[in-house]
Amino acid sequence: MNKHGANDTVGGRSLWQNAGERLRRNKAAMFSLWLLLFFVVLVVAGPWLAQHDYTQTNLSLGSTAPSLAGGHWFGTDALGRDVLARTLAGGRISLLVGLVATLVSLLIGVFWGAVAGYCGGRVDALMMRFVDTLYAMPFMFFVILLMVVFGRNILLIFVAIGAINWLDMARIVRGQTIGLRHREFIQAATLMGAGTLTIIVRHVIPNLLGVVVVYVTLTIPQVMLVESFLSYLGLGVQEPFTSWGALVNQGALEMETAPWLLVFPALFLAGTLFCFNFIGDGLRDALDAKSDEDGW
């Protein structure tokens, strides 16, 4: 038992190793991680997996129920298109929007927050004033407006949805940056003569990584939700593209006669959102060094 004497140093574990271990212990998060990976692989490999092309119509096979033998594992829609193929294709769009829009909000938010937090003073006050002003705007309505006004352009969707979410990211990043700014190693770097930009890139940003990773994981489902929302209202991606939201919209209309049209895309959508949320939660708990021995 006492293999080490008092003079041996116990191997230190870095913050990331500790966090990784905690994450691995979180069964829900790990399960979600694997499930998500599974979804992603399915969706990306879709065209090679599905036996049918997702745009191919076959009116003679309109609205058939799922059957393994018939070759349409998820059934077909009213136009005879294979639901499995469409679900996977829709997944590609939904996930793509999720990733790209999150990237947009990440870039804007991290930049805004880091600069504001690091510069402090009037620059900070001004930049955050702007954020506060934007906070009260009913963004969703603006996005709907944009979609209606400029048409359903997929690039526009990326940018518009991304622009909704950067505010929170900016606030968080700013908070973290301010905390970091006063920490010793930043002061040490300044003393050593590193320039402002170098400090931001080399010291501030790696330390923000933890918070940012958690936030990104939690933003992706929000963004996907917004996109599916828009698609549901008929304002999302246009044919021939489809997304899970659009598929659910179509499916809901025929819920009673052809439930498979709703069920499969809904399962995939909800499941993916679930996974992201659980992973994000797990990451947040893993990176937050709070013990669970409080005597309660």
């Binding site: 006492n2 004497g5 003079n7 116990v10 021995e293 005597g295």
Partner: protein, 325 residues
């Protein structure tokens, strides 16, 4: 019978890395209205001892041994029984006054709460008495100030409030865990004085915990030195300080002396506090002891009395070194 009798107290926590023993076989007594200082580095187990007496250890703590207050066994006592004792017979003041008060409640109400709870006072009676208590602990304009919120007081004032709250029902025992460590040096002395005088007024026994021997030397009649979860030396303060028997105590005193005078290099106790996951065999201090013997890391030394002098309480030491007679 003493007011407080602790015997063979053990506190441990099961963790991923194995069981950690934070208090290993501790025994001591305290008489009514007496005072005991517990000194030790962080990790020595002194705070855990205090929490064990109060029954406020974390939920996953494993406690064994015996803690008797006025003859009543505290270990194994029901939560409700302990609730009745806490605040009334047993009280504790913690280290950080800045966060120990509820920021959303007025100071008067927080003190009054103890009175309403244990002495059945009405809200008005409790409010009045709170003012009196505030006055007694040196808060001016208590009538007005009792309606203020914690953030409107300085650290020193908040500690006074906490002391007032702890002594409100005249408890039999007050434990103060590093009550001045978080305060300015100028304020520390005043708070310690307040603690001593108020305890004397209410006839409350005091256990004062600190890592700073200087703080303890003037305050407590008895002194216990802890290390690695065990007692090293214990006895009347004068005896322990003037006739330090344990090498650890002697080393601590040397570091104190150097701070207060001397021109040579500061003396330091070599080595580091023990890793509680893999504690050293035998005496926990043996890896750092300047007088270590060959069997020190094999056998745990049991406390034995140092030669008695008539009229004084016993002086105990846990060390294999034979005293030079």
């Amino acid at each position: 019978m003493s007011l407080l009798e602790v015997s063979h107290l053990k506190v441990s926590y099961p963790t991923r890395d194995g069981v950690i023993d934070v208090v290993r076989d501790l025994s001591f007594e305290l008489d009514e209205a007496d005072s005991l200082g517990i000194a030790g580095e962080s990790g020595s187990g002194k705070s855990q001892t205090a929490l064990a007496i109060m029954g406020l250890l974390a939920a996953n703590a494993r406690v064994s041994g015996s803690i008797r207050l006025d003859g009543l066994e505290l270990i194994g006592e029901s939560e409700r029984g302990l609730d009745r004792l806490r605040g009334k017979s047993l009280a504790m003041v913690f280290q950080d006054p800045m966060s120990a008060l509820n920021p959303y409640m007025t100071v008067g109400r927080q003190i009054g709460e103890v009175l309403e709870l244990h002495q059945g006072m009405s809200a008005d009676e409790a409010a009045k008495r709170s003012c009196e208590l505030l006055q007694m602990t040196g808060i001016d304009e208590p009538g007005r100030r009792s309606k203020a919120y914690p953030h409107q007081f300085s650290g020193g004032q908040r500690q006074r409030i906490l002391i007032a709250m702890a002594l409100a029902c005249g408890p039999r025992l007050l434990i103060a865990d590093e009550p001045t460590t978080a305060l300015d040096v100028t304020v520390q002395k005043k708070i310690l004085e307040l603690l001593r005088s108020r305890c004397r007024e209410t006839g409350t026994a005091l256990i004062l915990i600190s890592h700073d021997l200087a703080v303890l030397s003037g305050m407590c009649r008895n002194l216990m030195i802890m290390y690695g979860g065990m007692e090293m030396e214990r006895g009347p303060s004068q005896r322990v300080l003037l006739h330090a028997t344990h090498p650890y105590t002697a080393a601590l005193l040397r570091t104190l002396e150097d701070l207060h005078g001397g021109t040579g290099p500061l003396s330091v106790i070599p080595g580091e506090p023990p890793d509680l996951r893999n504690p050293p065999g035998g005496c926990p201090f043996n890896p750092r002891c300047s007088e270590v013997l060959t069997h020190c890391n094999k056998e745990i030394p049991r406390p034995r009395p140092v030669r008695r002098i008539e009229g004084t309480q016993s002086h105990w030491v846990a060390c294999h070194l034979e005293p030079e007679e």
